[in-house]
């Protein structure tokens, strides 16, 4: 199968959906003439023109608000917010407007929009350009949260997100844009709300979120050498969360580790852990462990940032402790 980078897989999804549906339009900072800061929208301005690939001023609240309005007017906007750290600037539009419109209108309104963003942890971008904060949005019923961990999923999940009739927060990983993976030529989509078992195992379940799926897979390979068989699950979407797949796995392995690039306190790991406790407590042979970032802002200094980030070695260490090896 041919290989594409994560960025090109996303680009292909955007292009195919724009060809498929004339209502799909893109808006964001630097997405047109500049081809996107990460080149995800490369060439799309030339192909589709400035009405469908719309460069905006630096106005995150207006970008998100305009996307909401476009969706209400019957279009399918895909807005880009350059860094996840900029989401608080448009939080009102996403969390308090888009997410609640269908509900508080008694089902009269529909907001089919996608807000694409990325987090740059691991790229030496410092405290204000590296944050990964998906848990904030778990507190907001009404939006879906999608986090692709590889090029195949990036394309299939973005296509489904664009076709979804709800607001979707689509969180990309900046560190993954240049990584390659198999992406078939033929059309496919991946439904939102289906986790994937990436590797079968018997002794312990490792749930990975976004970039940590790759780290969990590396960890599983290393653990195999120590005689530990780890199952790796990619959640793919946090809202809806495919709890069933996770719980079924934990019922077999009796142990769970959750790896994520967010800060540990109040993070997505806490939510998954609590849900597993509610649904599979009797099956657990060990406390659930979370591997996440420490509770500090993200340091700039490259060695400090490396120490700060969760990685395969930290997962291996935690798993070995749990397994008593």
């Amino acid at each position: 199968m041919r290989e594409l980078t994560y960025a090109d897989a996303l680009r292909e999804a955007l292009r195919e959906e724009m060809l498929r549906d004339p209502n799909v339009i893109l808006l964001g900072e630097e997405i047109g003439v500049f081809n996107g800061v990460y080149k995800v929208t490369r060439g799309l301005l030339d192909e589709f023109g400035p009405e469908r690939v719309r460069d905006t001023p630096i106005s995150e609240a207006a970008i998100a608000g305009a996307a909401v309005g476009l969706a209400l007017a019957g279009l399918k906007p895909v807005a880009e917010i350059m860094y996840m750290d900029f989401l608080p600037i448009c939080m009102d539009q996403l969390a308090t407007q888009a997410a609640k419109m269908r509900f508080m209108s008694g089902g009269q309104l529909k907001v089919p929009m996608v807000l694409r963003t990325q987090y740059s942890l691991g790229r030496q971008h410092g405290s204000q350009h590296s944050q990964f904060t998906p848990a904030w949005f778990l507190q907001v019923p009404g939006i879906k949260i999608v986090l692709p961990s590889n090029p195949y999923d990036a394309k299939g999940l973005l296509k489904s997100s664009i076709r979804d009739p709800n607001p979707v927060l689509f969180i990309e990983s900046g560190l993954l844009y240049r990584t390659k993976g198999p992406v078939p030529e033929e059309e496919y989509t991946i439904p939102l709300g289906q986790a994937e078992v990436k590797r079968k195992g018997e002794d312990i379940t490792i749930v990975g979120i976004s970039r940590q799926v790759g780290e969990a897979l590396s960890a599983a390979t290393k653990l195999e050498q120590s005689g530990i068989s780890a199952e790796v699950i990619d959640v793919r979407t946090l809202q809806p969360l495919d709890l069933k797949t996770i719980v079924e796995s934990v019922k077999r392995t009796s142990r769970l580790v959750i790896a994520s690039d967010d800060v540990k306190t109040g993070g997505v790991g806490a939510e998954i852990s609590a849900s597993v406790n509610e649904n599979a407590f009797g099956y657990l042979d060990a406390p659930i462990a979370r591997i996440a970032c420490p509770d500090t802002p993200i340091p700039f200094s490259p060695p400090l940032e490396q120490s700060y980030m969760p990685n395969a070695d930290k997962i291996v260490e935690t798993v070995k402790t749990i397994m008593g090896k």
């Binding site: 207006a62 309005g69 308090t96 508080m104 089902g107 009739p165």
Partner: protein
Amino acid sequence: MLQSMLLLRRFEEKVEELFMVKGALIGPSHLYLGQEAVAVGAMSALAPDDLTVTTYRGHGHALAKRVPAKLCMAELFGKETGNCKGLGGSMHVAIYPKTGSLYATAIVGSGIPIAAGVGLGLKQKRSKNIVATFFGDGACNTGAFHEGTNLIAVWKLPVLLFCENNQYAMSTPVKRAVSSPSIAERGRAYGMETIVVDGNDVISVYVAAKIAAERARSRSEPTFLECVTYKMKGHGVYDKGEYRPKDEVEKWLARDPIIVFKKKLLDSKTMTQSEIDAVEDIVKQEIEESVEFAMQGSVLPFNTIQSYVYAEE
């Protein structure tokens, strides 16, 4: 127009009574009393299928945009028979896309970027329709106002921005919150056609809105309309507005938009007193029926609310 203005007035008077006297309604409710000329003048200049994005002070916008009074009243009562099935309440009563009353937000200023998006959508679809957005003087100090207004201006979107300057953002007077000589300066600063209108004179609002609507429809150019008016009561239904100087209140009450309009109709012999009385009777009847309708409705079953969070295909 008179009937519509009277409907807005009598509806709010009834709401106030239901809150204060009868205790039948609870929760925040922001009355539109005194601003009727703005909503009615503006909506009369729009086509029925033009769209609006309004606010939590939206009972007047809803009624002027032909959302049936009985649905609004049922929504205030939190009944399933309300236009938002009782899930929205007073602050979202102006959500009824069937009559073009597209959206009403309860976050000050947030409707303006949304109106920009709706305007862009209409323009992109080569629609003949336009969008009007309503907001208060308080909204003009929010970031969303500036970001949204700039986008509307820079992309030349078919949007009418109605700033209802009712002199107070909650209890804060405009002069303590806006440094420019008028709010209209801000529309001009974004390179937008801007006009200051007597917001207590329905004909003035109508004429200005008609010209602005034409400009938006034929040339896709936005207009900023500062409608200078006054809220007769406080911020919400429980606020008596005691922070306002007595003589100021009296001065504005003498310019009550309904008194002003009735006088105009009588002086110009457009209507007789008995014709006006007949309209009052029709409105009174409609309000009574709407309360009756609202009281009869039932509440949405709690176990169904989850189904309103996400849309299926």
